[in-house]
Amino acid sequence: MTGDTLLTLLPFLIVVALALAIILIDLFLPDHDDLIMAVGVGGLVIALVAALAIGPLPWDMGYFAAPASIGEPALYTRDLMTSLLDLAFISIGLLTLLFAPDYLVPRKLPLPEFAATLLFAISGGMLIAGGQDLLVLFIGLELLVLPGYLLAGFAKRDGLSTEGAIKYFLLGSFSSAILLFGLAFVLGFTGSTQVSDIAASLGAIFDGSKPLPLALAMGLAMLTVGVLFKIAAVPFHYWTPDAYQGSPTPVTGYLSVGPKIAAFALILRIFVEALEPLRGEWALVVGVLAAVTMTVGNLAALGQDNIKRMLAYSSIAHTGYIMVGLVVFATAEDPEVAASGIQGVLFYSVAYAFMNLGAFAVVAALQRRPGVTSQLATFAGLGYRAAVPALLMTVFLLSLTGIPPLAGFFAKAIVVLSALEVGGNMTLLAVIMMLNAAMAAFYYLRVVVYMYMRQPADEAAPVSIGWYTRVGLWLAAAATILIGLFPAVTGAILEWTEAAAVALTRL
């Protein structure tokens, strides 16, 4: 193992080492929550810097100018997508960790175990981001979801949390198994677990003129079902609301972004990179499901009066929006347009991570006092009880709605633009997406209505928010605003996602 091999995996290794370090610290120095936070936050910042330093970055910066791989043939590659998603996952871990103490400590839930479990989960996502072999991808997936089940059931004395965790675990295991079955079909048909080999052998034998061989069709169907479970697309979304509502709120925030983005990374590696020759075969299914997913998600969110459940359904809608980028890739004839669809997927994922985590963090912060529910009513008059969190929540909600010039607006604009580039039926999908966005405004703005246009209940206690949460909230808000308003940042992410997408679609 050479130095470069280690460097390729460095951010991943740092996160895993950090998780182990936290377990050890907790073993020898129990009840040192501040130390755990210092080590966790510090370590993640180091991982962030390391991921930036080793690259590769799209401007010939960083240690690796070109993609670097491990293994021959490659098992793990560090390309532009890996580095981008590494940063995203580390940021997600960092923010989630910052939001955790305010919720966990008052409820006497152990912080060190939470931190270690979270870090393991993050590392799974990072492994998927760079996976070049079906087995590595599957290991990454399991590394991601197993800690996720633990986190969902973290409040083990809470009935709802346990119920959500069990549903999440059962459906998650089923879908993993289905996915694995699909992978086996692909392996059987192509004789390789290697992403580029699969693409090459499929490209050689399948040109789209003949119907798909049955075995491959089975494999493709199972893979599709498997990943649709993971991203919580309709009709495989039923676990989401219960799992999200039951989980401790910081965990819900994490579940709504971490595993979702990781699952999209899995799709990018398997469907976009390995099964690229088959893209026309799943275009119709995913296209229809994208429209159904966003519409069902939004319709269901309209009626929710529990904000965690509402955000859960809205996250289903956002899944639908991101899927539009995939459909663009699947239907586009022009390779540049196909890449722009993938660019949309990546850009949307990054923007979505910050705004959605931020929104959940405000919910979590209000629940610092045990007993506060996540009913919409707890937000009544928040604008006058806690001005800053309410203001930041407004920023997150406006961004989720897609109001310029915030991150969420650009994310939607880029996805819609890529759909328009394909034209034809995709224009219809773009219109459906925009009408959905208008529908979503209704329930996002209802929270703003509660915060600013309703009087607080008499017994509403003053809101106090810890320092970790405050720092995290400001970071998430800064990202949400900067990605939208600050041209250098917007441009940088646009270039990065485009370069990553072009590399991924092998143009």
């Binding site: 006058y384 406006l398 709605t401 897609g402 109001i403 310029p404 010039p405 607006f409 604009a413 819609v416 633009l417 328009l420 580039e421 224009t427 773009a430 219109v431 925009m434 009408l435 966005a437 208008a438 405004a441 209704f442 703005l445 209802r446 703003v448 209505v449 600013y452 246009m453 041209p487 917007t490 441009g491 646009l494 270039e495 485009e498």
Partner: protein, 526 residues
């Protein structure tokens, strides 16, 4: 004419309100830091005067712009272009021509007046209110001055949020319903407009092979899109603007929003926000999609006339003063869309003039309703009566603006309506005749309203108020005086506006391909 040198006056105008809003936002924390202790009451006053000062500076800057503006030059002036998102060729590009200039002046004036008009009525959360108002001004000015379609869209949406808050927080009893309805209506339109913007930008970039200039208004106008794209993109833009104007049958958000909004919110809503739609039609729909505009003009004219008649007839039966004026807005704004789509000089000039006149007159009417509401906490027409005996100054103003709104010759309301009707008759005589009925209906509902609340005996309800029913106070007089003046001046000297807008409108009409039979102001001014 004055020379502003290399000053980026447009950006200065757009962002002065933002600077003011930030100062207001940070003032309280800074005072706390500096350990200056001032009571909440004084702090609110500080916010009020700070906002007024900001609006005043913006107004003065816009006057400077008007003085420096050359109304004989073609094309946009004071253009400033900076790369914003180079990846897609999106620029921060602003520029002004005669059409945007008159609307900018209207905006800065009405914002200033609205802020003064809020001094009394707004007693809670003054800081947030004033910040919302200044951000609103930023958005409106940006829409009128943007020359990049993406930038235009951003400003378009920026307008939405503060108005949502102004109605939702400081509005009447049913405010939440009204404000959500307003937002959802507007969002549906604007999101479809976004699709249209992206679609034409993509087409441009495909044809030219580069994203550079793909959102640039000037380049897109020169490009010429194929008819199918024109048709769909036209509809995308049109829906957004038609909702904003609002055109029948998309108007239903307006009466609710107007009724629930605080007085100043209604003033800005009627005075400027509705004009965003009319401006968008002239600035974007006509030059960008001339073929589609020609094809669809008859339908839009039909909708306009339906709206004009519908709004006027419904207004007759409204029990609430604000609802009455709201429906009269639907009717009056029908003139604007009618004039625009006649594609002749009289029609479009009349449309733009009508936008300015309607902004001034209806703004004043809402201020007057605010005056009476402050004292009676009621707007029901049936409860009023004999106001002429009790509050003569108010009554005089009410009669004055009602007559102006009904289109009395010599006042501002007449010019626009007359020109639009002239344009309509030129386009198709019977259309003009049918549209003319609107003016009769307008006289009916306005005189009916005046008769009910001003004339007759003082009602028991008003008697019960006793000495609380006072006449217009100095602050209210100060807000109304400039509008009285403008109504008269614009009525007597319409060339003040028409000279500014004639040239840019001629260019628009050249693109749409309609014949422009002579200068409209020649008809009015021998």
């Amino acid at each position: 004419m004055i020379d502003l040198g290399r000053l980026d006056i447009l950006s200065l105008i757009i962002f002065t309100p933002l600077v003011g809003a930030l100062v207001l936002l940070l003032l309280a924390p800074l005072l706390k830091l500096a350990r200056v202790d001032i009571e909440a009451e004084r702090q609110d006053d500080l916010m009020r005067w700070g906002a007024l000062l900001t609006a005043l500076i913006t107004f003065v800057l816009s006057i400077l712009l008007a003085l420096a503006f050359d109304n004989e030059a073609t094309g946009f002036q004071f253009v400033q272009a900076v790369d914003w998102i180079g990846f897609f060729g999106i620029q921060y590009k602003v520029g002004v021509d005669g059409i945007s200039l008159v609307l900018v002046l209207l905006t800065t004036l009405l914002t200033m007046i609205s802020i003064v008009a809020s001094f009394g009525p707004i007693r809670t959360r003054v800081r947030e209110y004033m910040i919302s108002f200044l951000v609103l001004e930023l958005g409106m000015l940006g829409v009128f001055l943007a020359l990049d379609l993406f930038l235009f869209y951003v400003f378009w949406e920026v307008v939405l949020v503060p108005m949502y808050l102004i109605i939702g927080i400081w509005g009447g009893t049913n405010r939440v319903y009204a404000t959500l309805k307003f937002v959802i209506y507007t969002l549906v339109g604007s999101l479809l407009m976004l699709i249209a913007i992206l679609a034409i930008a993509w087409t441009y970039s495909q044809a030219t092979g580069t994203w550079v200039g793909a959102f640039d208004y000037v380049k897109l106008v020169e490009f010429g899109f194929d008819p199918t794209l024109q048709f769909w993109a036209f509809l995308g833009f049109f829906l957004a603007f038609a909702i904003k104007v609002p055109m029948w049958p998309l108007h239903t958000w307006l009466p609710d929003a107007h009724t629930e909004a605080p007085t100043a919110g209604s003033v800005i809503l009627a005075g400027v926000l509705l004009k965003l739609g009319g401006y968008g039609l002239i600035r974007l729909n006509l030059p960008l999609f001339p073929d589609a505009a020609n094809d669809l003009a008859p339908f839009i004219i039909a909708l306009s006339i339906a709206g004009m008649l519908y709004g006027a007839i419904v207004a007759i039966r409204q029990p609430d003063l604000k609802r009455l004026i709201a429906y009269s807005s639907v009717s009056h704004m029908g003139f604007v869309t009618l004039g625009i789509f006649t594609f002749n000089q009289q029609g479009v000039q009349g449309a733009v003039f009508q936008m300015v006149a309607h902004g001034v007159i209806t703004g004043a009417l809402f201020l007057l309703v605010g005056v009476i509401y402050e004292r009676t906490h009621d707007r029901t027409i049936a409860k009023m009566g004999g106001l002429g005996q009790r509050v003569p100054v108010f009554a005089t103003l009410m009669v004055f603006f009602s007559l102006a709104s009904a289109g009395l010759p010599g006042l501002a309301g007449f010019v626009g309506e007359f020109l639009v009707l002239l344009g309509a008759v030129t386009w198709e005589p019977w259309v003009g005749y049918v549209a003319g009925f609107t003016i009769i209906f307008a006289a009916v509902y306005l005189l009916y309203m005046v008769q009910n609340i001003i004339m007759g005996d003082v009602t028991d309800f008003l008697k019960g108020l006793g000495s609380r029913l006072t006449d217009v106070n100095p602050i209210e007089a100060a807000t109304l005086a400039p509008l009285v003046l403008l109504t008269i001046v614009l009525g007597l000297f319409p060339a003040l506006v028409l000279d500014l807008i004639a040239l840019p409108l001629e260019q628009v009409l050249d693109i749409v391909g309609a014949v422009a039979p002579g200068d409209a102001s020649a008809v009015l001014l021998p």
